[in-house]
C-alpha cells in the first residue's frame, strides 16, 4: 500500500496542527471557504498521491513552461507533495525504454486511478508519423494512456482545439484530443498557453475534491472559462465610452484606452486573464498594451489578422472579411440597379408597350 500525503507529512515530523494549517492555506489559495478545509484534509489523509502521466504531442511546450510558473501553489509543491508526476518527457530523469516502461507500470498499477494530462495533439496525417515517439505514432500512445485513465486533461489550445499546427492548411492533420478520445469527457484547459495558476488550480481541484470540475458546453472548467476577457477587462469603461487606441503609442495608448480598434479579441474570448492575470498577477496582454489574440479560442489563428476587428471569413479565402465582401457586392448590386434602371427608362421612353400580356396560367 502506498503512503498517503498525510502519512508522509507525519513522518516528516509535521504536527496535526500544522497539517490543518496547510489545508486552510490551500483552501484560501484556491478561493474556497473554511468549509472546504476538512474536505481537503480528508483527501490528503486518505489517498496516495495521484499519479499523473503528462504526454506531449505536436506543441511548443509552453504549457509545461507555464505550469512551472505557478506561484500558488508553487510548482515544486505540486510536484513533491500534491501529485506524483510519474511521466513528463520534458522534465523526467529517465529516458528511452526506462521512461516508456513507466507508462506501462502506472497503467497497470493504477488502472482507472491516474490522471492523463495531454499537452499538444496528435497529427493523423501520414499515419501519425509527423509525431513519432518510441518509433510509433503519438496517437497510439495517446489512445493507450487514455484507455485506463480516471480523468483526461487537455492542456492548452493545442490539445483543446488544435492550435497553431492545425491552422490552415493544417499540413499534418493535427487533431484535438477530444476528436480522438471520443468515449469519455476531456477536460479542456485552453490558452496558448493557459495561465499557470489556472492549470494548477484545475488539477488540485480534481485531487482535492476527487471529481472533475464543472464544465461548460464546450468542455472547459466553468470556474475559469465562463466569462470573456471583455466582461472583466479594466479598460471596459473606455470601450463603452467610445474611447479607443487609434494607433500604437498614441495618446489613447498612453492613457490606457480600449484596444478594440487595434484588433482586441477580448469580446469573444473566454479566459481568466483579465481577472487572474499572468505571472502572479503582474499583468496580462491588454494591460501591457497589446490586444488579446483570443488565444484560448477555437481556431483563433484563422480569423484574419490579429489587428483587424472585423474577422475574416475563411470560406471566402484568406483575405475576405464581411466588410470587404459586403462592399464589393453592394457596389455590384448598386451598379446593377443603376444599369437596370437606365435600361428600364429607355424601354419605357420608347413606349413599346403595344403587345399584350402573354397568355399563361390556364
Amino acid at each position: 500500500m502506498n503512503e498517503t500525503f498525510y502519512d508522509v507529512l507525519r513522518r516528516q515530523g509535521i504536527t496535526r496542527r500544522s497539517f490543518m494549517k496547510f489545508c486552510s492555506l490551500m483552501a484560501a489559495s484556491m478561493g474556497l471557504g473554511a468549509g472546504a478545509v476538512p474536505k481537503i484534509a480528508h483527501a490528503l489523509e486518505t489517498k496516495p498521491r495521484t499519479p499523473v502521466l503528462w504526454i506531449h504531442g505536436l506543441e511548443c511546450t509552453c504549457c509545461t513552461e507555464s505550469f512551472i510558473r505557478s506561484a500558488h501553489p508553487l510548482a515544486k509543491d505540486v510536484l513533491l507533495s500534491m501529485l506524483s508526476l510519474d511521466y513528463d518527457d520534458t522534465l523526467m530523469a529517465a529516458a528511452g525504454h526506462q521512461a516508456e516502461s513507466i507508462l506501462d507500470t502506472i497503467r497497470e498499477k493504477y488502472k482507472g486511478n491516474y490522471i492523463l494530462a495531454v499537452e499538444g495533439n496528435p497529427p493523423l496525417g501520414e499515419e501519425g508519423m509527423y509525431a513519432i515517439q518510441g518509433g510509433r505514432p503519438f496517437v497510439d500512445k495517446l489512445r493507450e494512456c487514455a484507455a485506463d485513465a480516471k480523468h483526461i486533461i487537455a492542456w492548452g489550445s493545442c490539445a483543446s482545439w488544435g492550435c497553431v499546427q492545425a491552422a490552415r492548411p493544417n499540413p499534418t492533420q493535427a487533431t484535438p484530443v477530444h476528436k480522438v478520445i471520443t468515449d469519455r469527457p476531456v477536460i479542456k484547459v485552453p490558452g496558448c498557453p493557459p495561465i499557470a495558476e489556472v492549470m494548477t488550480a484545475v488539477i488540485t481541484y480534481m485531487l482535492t475534491f476527487d471529481r472533475a470540475p464543472e464544465l461548460d458546453r464546450m468542455g472547459r472548467p466553468k470556474m475559469f472559462y465562463s466569462q470573456r476577457i471583455h466582461d472583466k477587462c479594466y479598460r471596459r469603461p473606455h470601450f463603452d465610452a467610445g474611447q479607443y487606441v487609434e494607433a500604437w503609442d498614441d495618446e489613447g495608448a498612453r492613457k490606457g484606452y480600449c484596444l478594440y480598434k487595434m484588433g482586441c479579441k477580448g469580446p469573444t474570448t473566454y479566459n481568466a486573464c483579465s481577472t487572474t492575470r499572468w505571472n502572479e498577477g503582474v499583468s496580462f496582454p491588454i494591460q501591457s498594451g497589446h490586444g488579446c489574440l483570443g488565444c484560448s479560442e477555437h481556431d483563433f489563428w484563422d480569423q484574419g489578422s490579429f489587428y483587424n476587428r472585423v474577422a475574416n471569413l475563411s470560406q471566402f479565402g484568406v483575405e475576405a472579411n464581411a466588410d470587404t465582401i459586403g462592399m464589393t457586392i453592394a457596389a455590384g448590386v448598386g451598379a446593377g440597379i443603376a444599369a437596370h434602371a437606365a435600361v428600364s427608362a429607355v424601354v419605357r421612353y420608347r413606349g413599346k408597350t403595344g403587345i399584350d400580356v402573354p397568355e399563361h396560367g390556364e
Binding site: V8, S66, R69, D86, A93, G96, A253
Partner: protein, 581 residues
C-alpha cells in the same frame, strides 16, 4: 556501408546498436541511435528529430504583421525569440525603423529569455546528468552547508536549511512514488559528485524552480504574459507614460521599479547560485572531456543585442558574430544572411523533398514539402520503427550548412568567437573559469565547455539587462518615451514585392528568419533555427551534424543506461519543436 570517414571522425556501424527514444529533458521529440564497440565506446551516432508541424507552410498567405505570433509558437521554451526574429525580418523587408526605447525593451526581453532559459536548462533539464538525487539522502547537511558557504555568500546555506530539504526528499523517496525521478540512473558510476554536493544541487534545483518564475516577469511587464509575450512590428506594444493622465496603466515608475528589482535579484541568483554550482560541479568532472564534436572546427554566430536601434551591423551588436571553419581559430569570417552562397539547407537525409536534392537552397528560395519515407535498411515497420536507416532520409530536421559546412551554434560558439575576437566580455570570464578549474583552453571544446559557456552567458546577460535598464532611464529622463513607429503600419503603404531577413542569438544559438512578401501577404517564410544547425542530419556529402559528432568516441559506463548520451546531448539544450518547426 560500415565505415565512413568525415570531418575527422570514423563512423562504424558494425557494433551493437543502442536506441534512446524518447530522449527526455529536452523540448520536443528526439531519437538517438548509436553503435558501440566492444568497449562500449560510441562509434556511430544517428540523431533524429521526430516531429514536424509545418509552420512554414501555415505562414503562407498570412499578414506579415501577424507572423511573430505564429513563429513564437514554434517554441514555448525559447519563447519570444522567434517573435523577435520575425518582427525584425518584416521590418527589414519593409524598411521599418523602430524607436530607441523599443530597441532597448526588446533587448531587455531577449536578455531576460537568455538568463531564464539557461537557468532552467541547467537546473531542470541538465543537472540530473551530473547530480545523483538519491545520493543526496546520504549527505551530511553540515558538510553541505560548509560547501555552500565556501562557494558564495548566498543566504540559504545553513545546516538546518539543507536538513529540511533532505527530510523532504527522504519523505518523498520513502513514499515509494518517485514522480519525475522514477527510473533515473541513480547509482550509475558516471555520477561523480559526493553526496554533500548532490544535496546542495537538489536544494538549488528547487530554489531555481521557485526563482525562474520571477525572471520572466520582465516579459510580463512589457509583453503582458509569459510564456508567449506580445510583440509588435515597428516597436513594442507597451506604451510608456511616466506622469501623465492614465500613467497608472502604462509603463510607469512602479513597473520600472519591478523590472529593476527583478534584474537585481536575477544577477544575485546567477552570480551566487548558478555560477558557483557550475564551477563546483565542473570541478568534479574536470577529466570528463568528451562531447566536443565539431566545436573546435566549425562555429557560427549571427550576433545580437544591438546597442543602437536599427543598426544590426557588427559595431552595434554586443553578442559576438562570425563563422569559424576548419578549426582555423585565427580567422573569423563575416556572415551575410542574404548571400545565397553562404547559408543553404539540404534535405537529402530529411523527410522533405526538393527537385534536386544534391543541392542546397538559400532560405529565400526555401522549400518545405514533407516527404516521409524510410530507407531500405530500416528495421521494424513504417509505424513501428525499431532501427532507423541513416543512409536514407531519417529526420524531420533539415541540414543547414554555411558554405557547405555543418556548424555548431549556441553559447559555446558565441564565447569561442568572442574569445578569438578578443572581446573582453567573453574572453575574461572563460579564462577566469579555466584558471579556477586549472584546465587549458582546449578543454572548452567539450560537453562541459558547452555547459559552462551557457552559465557564463547567463551571467553576462543578467548584467547587460542592468546596463540596458539604465539606458532606458536616461532616455526617459531626456523626455523620449516613444515605443512604436506606425508610419508603415498600414499595408497600403508597402511595396508590392519585397524580401527581408531577421536574426537574433536565441539561447540555443544563431536564429534566422527569411521572409518574402508579395501583395502584402507572406509569399514564403523560412526559419533556420539553432537546433536545426545542431541537430542536423547528414548532408549529401555524408557530413554529420553537431549532435552526432559530439556523441562520437564517448565511452559509456553502462551500455544500457544512456547517461553519457543524455549528458552530451543536453549540453546543447536541444529544442526539437524549434528544430523542425
Amino acid at each position: 556501408m560500415t565505415r565512413h570517414e568525415t570531418q575527422g571522425f570514423t563512423l562504424d556501424d558494425t557494433g551493437r546498436r543502442i536506441v534512446v527514444d524518447p530522449v527526455t529533458r529536452i523540448e520536443g521529440y528526439m531519437r538517438v541511435e548509436v553503435n558501440v564497440d566492444e568497449n562500449n565506446v560510441i562509434r556511430n551516432a544517428v540523431s533524429t528529430g521526430t516531429l514536424w508541424r509545418g509552420l512554414e507552410v501555415i505562414l503562407k498567405g498570412r499578414d506579415p504583421r501577424d507572423a511573430w505570433a505564429f513563429t513564437q509558437r514554434i517554441c514555448g521554451v525559447c519563447t519570444g525569440t522567434h517573435a523577435l526574429a520575425s518582427v525584425r525580418a518584416v521590418e527589414n523587408a519593409l524598411g521599418i525603423t523602430i524607436p530607441d526605447n523599443a530597441n532597448i525593451i526588446r533587448n531587455l526581453m531577449q536578455l531576460c529569455l537568455q538568463v531564464h532559459d539557461h537557468l532552467v536548462h541547467f537546473y531542470h533539464l541538465h543537472a540530473l546528468d551530473w547530480v545523483d538525487v538519491v545520493s543526496a539522502l546520504d549527505a551530511d547537511p553540515r558538510t553541505t552547508s560548509e560547501l555552500a558557504q565556501s562557494l558564495s555568500d548566498w543566504p540559504l546555506s545553513s545546516p538546518g536549511y539543507f536538513r529540511d530539504i533532505q527530510n523532504r526528499l527522504k519523505a518523498f523517496v520513502a513514499s515509494g512514488q518517485l514522480g519525475l525521478f522514477t527510473n533515473g540512473y541513480w547509482g550509475n558510476p558516471a555520477y561523480r559528485l559526493p553526496a554533500d554536493a548532490n544535496l546542495m544541487a537538489v536544494a538549488h534545483y528547487l530554489e531555481a524552480l521557485d526563482f525562474q518564475k520571477e525572471i520572466v516577469k520582465i516579459h510580463t511587464v512589457f509583453g503582458g504574459k509569459n510564456p508567449h509575450p506580445n510583440w509588435l512590428v515597428g516597436g513594442v506594444p507597451c506604451a510608456i507614460n511616466l506622469d501623465g493622465v492614465g500613467a497608472v496603466g502604462a509603463v510607469n515608475m512602479e513597473r520600472l521599479n519591478l523590472v529593476k528589482s527583478i534584474i537585481e535579484r536575477t544577477i544575485e541568483f546567477v552570480d551566487k547560485v548558478y555560477i558557483p554550482d557550475l564551477t563546483a560541479i565542473a570541478g568534479f568532472y574536470r577529466d570528463w572531456q568528451y562531447g566536443g564534436g565539431i566545436s573546435s572546427q566549425c562555429l557560427l554566430a549571427y550576433g545580437d543585442i544591438p546597442v543602437r536601434a536599427n543598426d544590426y551591423g557588427p559595431d552595434s551588436l554586443l553578442m559576438p558574430h562570425g563563422a569559424i571553419i576548419n578549426g582555423d581559430l585565427s580567422t573569423v569570417h563575416d556572415v551575410d544572411l542574404s548571400d545565397p552562397e553562404q547559408i543553404q539547407e539540404f534535405v537529402s537525409h530529411s523527410w522533405y523533398t526538393y527537385p534536386d536534392e544534391t543541392r542546397g537552397l538559400h532560405p529565400w528560395d526555401g522549400l518545405t514539402e514533407p516527404d516521409f519515407q524510410l530507407g531500405p535498411n530500416t528495421k521494424g515497420t513504417r509505424t513501428k520503427i525499431e532501427q532507423i536507416d541513416e543512409n536514407a532520409k531519417y529526420s524531420w530536421i533539415k541540414s543547414p550548412r554555411w558554405r557547405g559546412h555543418p556548424m555548431e551554434v549556441g553559447p559555446l560558439a558565441r564565447f569561442v568567437i568572442g574569445h578569438v575576437r578578443g572581446n573582453p566580455e567573453f574572453k575574461e570570464p572563460v579564462d577566469r573559469l579555466l584558471r579556477t578549474l586549472d584546465l587549458p583552453l582546449e578543454a572548452i571544446f567539450s560537453t562541459l565547455g558547452r555547459t559552462a559557456a551557457r552559465g557564463l552567458e547567463a551571467s553576462w546577460a543578467a548584467h547587460k539587462m542592468a546596463w540596458f535598464f539604465d539606458r532606458l532611464i536616461s532616455n526617459l529622463k531626456a523626455g523620449d518615451t516613444a515605443t512604436a513607429n506606425t508610419e508603415r503600419w498600414d499595408p497600403a503603404t508597402w511595396p508590392d514585392d519585397v524580401k527581408g531577413y531577421g536574426f537574433t542569438e536565441a539561447p540555443r544559438g544563431a536564429l534566422g528568419h527569411w521572409i518574402h512578401i508579395r501583395d502584402r501577404k507572406i509569399e514564403n517564410y523560412q526559419a533556420v533555427v539553432p537546433t536545426t544547425w545542431n541537430g542536423s542530419p547528414r548532408d549529401p556529402q555524408g557530413q554529420i551534424g553537431p549532435f552526432e559528432a559530439a556523441l562520437m568516441n564517448t565511452p559509456l559506463a553502462k551500455a544500457d543506461e544512456p547517461l553519457e548520451i543524455l549528458r552530451t546531448l543536453h549540453s546543447f539544450d536541444p529544442c526539437l519543436a524549434c528544430s523542425s518547426h
